[in-house]
Symmetry: C2
Subunit: 140 residues, 2 copies
């Protein structure tokens, strides 16, 4: 029995089977949004173990590419991410987590709510970055 | 004059200069959300040219990894994405587009509004995918 490329795509896109398509490094990108506000908090990466732990525990686990190890987000900072919903895309090579953030509500290592605190703006001399409000309510 | 790793990180994270950190394939992941609803529509990739065209034209351009060519989203389908806001993250290796979708309002090649139309649900026998409502209003 052979399976055509079209059959395989159909299976990945329409079936109820979780078959994540990890990249050559064994990773899949994970988009994390705030479940209440819809703000994109971060883009991180998961390996199979991080994805499984996220599903099993209901908290976000990632693979830290810089530290090359599994990363339980918030384990030290208290910024634990409770997963309200976890989704996967059509070709199963990206996931989307809607989360509630614990601790001080922050996400970014720079101390902001979201990692996406700068807007790219087209200017006559070329694109520039404009900082948006992104400080934590508690921070000075 | 030397620049330390910490200085470089500080520059990338805090300056107003756009210095996208493309990966080994010359690509950066792009998260696209609906500007009105906040729904994550897709995760795609941009090379430098796609990012520049997106900034210059105010419409979303990507790099199609499967077709290996620049991709003006909606050029044939009418599902053009007007960029209301473009953001970049702390380490400048991911961008976030808030868009208004033209044509029939769809985004996914499967005919749905968003590519993220399945939820991952932990079940006793292991995780399964549950389809969520994601059909276009106009579709049968």
């Amino acid at each position: 029995m052979t399976t055509s490329t079209a059959d395989l795509a159909e299976t990945i896109e329409e079936s109820a089977l979780l078959t994540p398509q990890f990249n050559a490094d064994g990773l899949i990108p994970a988009i994390t949004t705030d479940a209440a506000s819809g703000v994109v908090l971060m883009l991180a990466w998961m390996n199979a173990e991080a994805l499984n732990k996220t599903i099993e525990t209901g908290q976000a686990w990632y693979w830290s590419r810089s530290r090359r190890r599994l990363w339980h987000k918030g384990a030290t900072s208290g910024q634990v991410q409770q997963v309200e919903e976890l989704r996967i895309d059509c070709d199963q090579d990206a996931v989307w987590l809607k989360v509630r953030v614990g601790g001080d509500g922050g996400c970014c290592h720079t101390g902001r709510v979201s990692c996406f605190y700068r807007r790219i703006v087209a200017e006559p001399g070329g694109p520039m970055l404009h900082r948006q409000s992104g400080a934590l309510p508690q921070s000075g």
